[in-house]
């Protein structure tokens, strides 16, 4: 029997449209974590599942070429972010991981509360994205 190359037009078109919605949702979850359910962990998991949908709809080689990111390095960047926010507060004479917040006036957004909890959450986000995708991709490329 001749092996026919499968044609997943509907799958790939649908994945392309869905990716933007899921990535926007994950960034919303990351930024909304201060005042409502959400935060770095679940936002990172949503980003990981968006990239996982890309890997499912296309194949490993295509996505590795279009997203040339080593996800192990992403874990390191996240840990660096999370620990540096603690060290910065140490430099000003406060205990490790002291949180600061202030209200700023940003054009188009108005009065915004900016805290140093956001870089820490960003670190959590990067660690979760990196470790989830590292686990999945390591298992996936194991068999060949």
């Amino acid at each position: 029997m001749k092996q026919v190359k499968p044609n997943d037009v509907m799958l790939q078109t649908f994945a392309r449209m869905l990716i933007f919605i899921i990535l926007a949702f994950s960034i919303y979850l990351l930024l909304a974590g201060h005042n409502s359910p959400g935060g770095g962990f679940i936002g990172g998991l949503m980003t990981a599942s968006a990239i996982l949908i890309l890997y499912l709809a296309f194949d490993m080689k295509t996505i590795r070429k279009s997203i040339p990111i080593d996800f192990v390095k992403i874990i390191g960047i996240g840990l660096l972010f999370a620990s540096l926010t603690g060290v910065v507060s140490m430099l000003f004479g406060f205990p490790y991981l002291t949180q600061f917040f202030d209200y700023f006036h940003i054009p188009l957004l108005g009065e915004v509360e900016l805290t140093t909890a956001l870089p820490f959450d960003l670190g959590v986000y990067f660690v979760v994205v990196g470790s989830a995708l590292t686990i999945i991709l390591t298992i996936a490329e194991d068999d060949n």
Binding site: L52, M60, T62
Partner: protein
């Protein structure tokens, strides 16, 4: 009145979940089970929506979107595993 209607809807959805669970258990083929699990995910989304109205809150609205995305990814991966034998293809 509103509360009674919502409770009736919850009971109907619970019966749906029980019937879908029976299909997951006795489903003669794997695609039957996958479809039943997908429908269970969609029914749970409806459950959370009605519970959100009953408790008069909007904090579960993230859960609705998240559960539907996860149900989609799960069904996607399972059906790809059935058809091709590999969830993520290595590519050529």
């Amino acid at each position: 009145m509103m509360n009674t209607i919502l409770t009736i809807a919850l009971v109907i959805m619970a019966i749906t979940l029980a019937l879908l669970f029976i299909r997951v258990i006795i489903g003669p083929s794997i695609p039957d089970r996958i479809l039943a699990l997908d429908a269970i995910g969609v029914t749970l989304v409806g459950f959370i929506g009605i519970i959100m109205i009953k408790q008069d809150t909007i904090v579960y609205s993230d859960v609705v979107l998240l559960l539907s995305i996860l149900a989609f990814v799960g069904t996607f991966a399972l059906s790809k595993f059935l058809e091709r034998g590999a969830v993520i293809e290595p590519g050529d």
